[in-house]
Symmetry: C2
Subunit: 406 residues, 2 copies
């Protein structure tokens, strides 16, 4: 597998555009993605009972099983909790994009992110789509514009692309994502759009995506809130020309592994750019009875406000790690736990087989002064492991979220 420059326009036959159309003040707020031939589509959406208009519509469209030609995405307004009017506006947004690229409305998906509950500025969006569609293009620059246009409180755009060989053909996968606030296990406010020229059946594409989000996007946490708009969409247009992947073959495994790289890279970047985050935290749990247990413990630690605040304060408070493990709901013997904190500066054992280690505070402080911290946990219940990613809790998180609407 080769990591290459670019993102959604890297695979064959995909175009993108991004522009400032006036939903937000003076910054890019509309992204368009198009496949020159209809693509099979797999997607995963928020588990929140309250779903944005775009999510409800996408679910209905994908139920019908047709191919997808394009995705229109706006930032600045989530079009969620907006009632019947919001649904109508969302339909119009899809229709405007479909008309602009000459396809049916049913072959277009939509996504929205931004403020919840504010009326959707459909006139602005309709005009914006009309004006931006002609700028759709295949270039590296086009994908960057799209990546920038889906940002809300993100401080940088997230892009990734990889290439693999499948049956002698070069298959490319590219993706863009936005995250920042409300990122949490269970697909919190995040959008990810992935394109690939791989030739793959819809069922296998959905299987690869559904399984992979469980160990990527669903293992990150910024603040524990799950949003109304979360969406991950993969479009596969088949233009790489590989023989169709229609079962659990070696080719499928190669594709899934590349897709995993794309998803993990995007997921980690969402966390790195968590609202107000100053540190990236990886929590590894080993020795669990089941994979599910390992995931629950890892998430519990990475989601703990007290662990997050301790990381911000560069305080080697391993007691909070053990405490968060303890209330995770998973049973384990607290007297057989190892806890290690690690960074580029080295590693330090803090709890050894259930016994607190009299550690060197100076060394611990030095390790925690780094931007990327790993917490390695070992319990003694079995052989399963899992990883979760999060960020610290800073003053700026509170600042950003205390006054988001203004």
């Amino acid at each position: 597998m080769k990591v290459i420059d670019g993102s959604v326009t890297a695979p064959k036959g995909f175009l993108a555009a991004g522009a400032a159309v006036g939903i937000k003040k003076g910054v890019k707020d509309l992204a368009l993605i198009k496949s020159e031939v209809p693509a099979v589509c797999a997607a995963c959406f928020t588990t929140n009972v309250v779903k944005a208009a775009s999510v409800l519509r996408n679910i209905e469209i994908l139920k019908c099983g047709g191919k997808i030609s394009g995705i229109a995405v706006n930032s600045g307004n989530a079009n969620a909790c907006t009632g019947e009017l919001g649904k109508k506006s969302n339909e119009e947004m899809a229709k405007a994009y479909a008309d602009a690229i000459g396809v049916t409305a049913e072959s277009v998906l939509t996504a929205s992110t931004g403020v919840i509950g504010a009326e959707f500025p459909i006139d602005t969006v309709r005009e914006g789509v009309k004006k931006t569609a002609p700028t759709l293009g295949y270039s590296r620059e086009n994908s960057l514009l799209a990546a920038e246009a889906i940002m809300t409180t993100d401080t940088y755009s997230k892009e990734v692309a990889v290439q693999i060989e499948i049956g002698g053909k070069t298959v490319t996968i590219g993706g863009i994502a936005k995250g920042s606030g409300m990122i949490h296990p269970n697909m919190a406010t995040m959008l990810a759009f992935i394109t690939t020229d791989c030739n793959i059946e819809k069922e296998m594409l959905q299987k690869a995506l559904s399984e992979d989000i469980e160990v990527t996007y669903n293992m990150v946490s910024v603040d524990g809130d799950t949003s109304t708009n979360d969406t991950v969409v993969v479009l596969a247009n088949g233009l790489a020309g590989n023989e169709v992947i229609d079962g659990d073959t070696e080719e499928y495994k190669a594709f899934k592994s590349a897709l995993h790289y794309v998803n993990e890279r995007l997921a980690k970047n969402l966390v790195r750019d968590g609202e107000g985050a100053t540190k990236f935290i990886e929590v590894n749990v080993a020795g669990a009875k089941t994979c599910g247990d390992a995931k629950i413990i890892a998430k519990s630690v990475v989601c703990s406000s007290l662990v997050k605040a301790a990381m911000f304060g560069e305080d080697a408070n391993w007691g909070r790690v053990l405490c968060a493990m303890g209330y995770s709901g998973v049973k384990f013997d607290p007297e057989k736990v190892d806890i290690v904190f690690k960074s580029a500066k080295g590693d330090i054992l803090l709890m050894d087989n259930g016994t607190p280690v009299n550690f060197d505070e100076g060394k611990a402080a030095d390790i925690l002064s780094e931007k990327e911290i790993t917490v390695n946990i070992k319990i003694s219940e079995g052989n399963e492991c899992a990883a979760a990613w999060g960020c610290d809790l800073s003053y700026d998180y509170v600042k950003i979220n205390g006054d988001y609407r203004s």
Copy 2:
């Protein structure tokens, strides 16, 4: 029912003491409670898998069913995650107090709060207990000293006392509590000690307590972390002279209702004093199918970091309320939801039967400028309701928890 001044020394036959014995630097850190006759005892402890030495010991002692004569409590060191040595130290702490008041170690409970994982300073505690026990007294001042001695990052002591008439006798209930950080549903780091001269059977006392914590201490949230040390203990010494309460009688109901007042008052004060809190938030949910559903939704809203941060910023972001309801796990129709924000300055309808209301931002800001905010939520699934209490998320929360150990 009459609310009276005082707390744990208000009921007949209870003594208390509080002193600075050197576990912390120059502030009170040891509290003692004593009943002049052995008392029946009910208690609830943390659900965390990782339990402090004192919690493990108390559970064992209460299993035996004997009466309790005293409780020794220290702040400054949680004696949690401290291995075998911690357990031994805890035994010694109990023995020191039992010796000092001339009872067996099995009739003494202990509790600890403070830093997790640090070695327990048993010599200091032993000496402290010996020196402080002779100061045990019945006065109002004695109970205040005890209330102050159990504080950690609390900014004020929490005390309450009430009186009721049962069968012509005056029954008094008094309580002290400490909370602040890590307060969360499921008995997070909080200690509450309640004394009463009521004559009541152990089983009925435990029933009253177990049921009541579900709608009081377990409905508050500061930050979502559940601690290793949470303890609520009620001692009933029978000195009020009422006929023994041994079944689900009118007298039991009167006692339970008074106990509820004590618990709710203490629970709300824990939240008001949440680390860095600037606002008190009450969330009421009505129209749920079951009481359990109502509680889950209320807790989900009150625990949301985004709702908390919006309250801190005095931002009427009702979308975050609906969003937190949506990911609570309870099914409801988002198109039949009412949301009202309320304070001493008035109330404002933000969502009416699933439709966003075009509300007056000035009025909303005025309402949210108050220190006590109520969020009233109505869904249309049934007739059950619940309340939960929390505080906002401020810069100071991060500051306090970023560097707690130093």
